[in-house]
C-alpha cells in the first residue's frame, strides 16, 4: 500500500510540512510514529515552526543521552530544512562521544536519492552503525559537510519496555 502522506514513497522517512491558508493560524500539531505491530508503542516527534528552524540555521546538532546495550538503542533522524526549497540534499558527519568526551565512532552519511526528492537521513541503532558495541550517556554530534539549509532532527531511544525517549539536537 502506498503512503498517503503526499509526496512520500512507501518505506521512507521524510520531513512533513504543514501549512494553512491563514498563516496566522498554523494548526497545533501532534505527530506520533506508531508501531502497528506492537501498539501502543510509539514515538512522539517534535513539531517546530519553519521560521524557527530558519532562524536557528544550525550547522551542528548535539544530541544527549545516546544509548546502546543488549536491550536498548538510539535512532537518529536528520534533515536540512531551508526557507526557499523545503528539504535539501545534504551530507553530514555523525560522531558518537562517550560520557567522558572520548570519540567512540564516526561516519559520513547523505540523503541524496538519485532521481528523486531527498529523504531524511534515518539511521536506526546509530551506535551500532558506527561500530560501537555499547555506550551509555553518550553524545551524538551531527555536523553538516555540504548542502544548503539548517539541520534539524531528533534521536529516539527505544527501551525494552517499549517506552521511547526523544531528544532534539538544539533548543528551538
Amino acid at each position: 500500500m502506498a503512503s498517503d502522506i503526499p509526496g512520500t514513497a512507501l518505506e521512507s522517512v521524510n520531513s512533513i510540512f504543514i501549512s494553512a491558508n491563514d498563516p496566522v493560524a498554523l494548526p497545533v500539531v501532534r505527530s506520533r510514529v506508531l508501531n502497528t505491530a506492537s501498539p501502543p508503542e510509539g514515538i512522539e516527534l517534535p513539531a517546530v515552526r519553519l521560521s524557527t528552524l530558519i532562524s536557528l540555521d544550525a550547522a551542528i546538532l548535539n544530541f544527549p543521552s545516546a544509548l546502546r546495550n543488549a536491550d536498548a538503542h538510539t535512532n537518529l533522524a536528520v534533515a536540512a530544512i531551508s526557507d526557499c526549497c523545503g528539504q535539501e540534499p545534504v551530507a553530514v558527519r555523525v560522531e558518537l562521544f562517550g560520557a567522558d568526551g572520548s570519540l567512540m565512532g564516526s561516519g559520513t552519511f547523505t540523503n541524496a536519492v538519485p532521481g528523486g526528492a531527498p529523504q531524511n537521513i534515518f539511521l536506526g541503532d546509530i551506535a551500532g552503525q558506527l561500530g560501537v558495541q555499547a555506550v551509555e550517556d553518550g553524545v551524538i554530534r551531527v555536523t553538516k559537510l555540504s548542502g544548503n539549509g539548517g539541520l534539524w532532527g531528533e534521536t529516539s531511544t527505544v527501551y525494552p519496555s517499549g517506552s521511547v525517549s526523544v531528544s532534539v539536537g538544539r533548543n528551538p
Binding site: 498517503d4 502522506i5 503526499p6 521512507s12 500539531v29 505527530s31 508501531n35 516527534l45 513539531a47
Partner: protein, 91 residues
C-alpha cells in the same frame, strides 16, 4: 517633511510590509522523522489554535488525510524547488 521625503518614507513602508508579508505567509510547521518504515507509521493530529471544533487527523497508511484534515490546512512533502509535491487542501 517634503513631498519627496514623504514619498520615500511611504515607499519604504510598502517595501517593508511586502517583505514581512512574504516571510510570514511562507511559515509552516515542520516535522522531521515522519513516514512509513516496516510496521511503523506516522499519525498527525491537528487542532486549530484559535477555534474549536476545527481539527483533524492524518495517517501515513490510510486515506484519512483527505477526510479529516481541515480544508484550510495543507500537509505534505516539499521538493527541492519548493513546490508542494501534492497538496491536499488549500491549493
Amino acid at each position: 517633511m517634503t513631498s519627496k521625503s514623504r514619498r520615500s518614507l511611504l515607499l519604504g513602508l510598502i517595501a517593508g510590509l511586502a517583505v514581512v508579508g512574504r516571510s510570514y505567509s511562507a511559515d509552516a510547521v515542520v516535522v522531521v522523522g515522519a513516514g512509513t518504515l516496516g510496521s511503523w507509521t506516522t499519525r498527525f493530529d491537528l487542532a486549530n489554535p484559535d477555534s474549536l471544533p476545527t481539527s483533524g487527523a492524518a495517517e501515513s497508511r490510510t486515506s484519512r488525510i483527505s477526510d479529516c484534515v481541515p480544508e484550510s490546512v495543507s500537509l505534505g512533502h516539499r521538493d527541492h524547488s519548493r513546490k508542494w509535491l501534492d497538496r491536499r487542501h488549500g491549493q
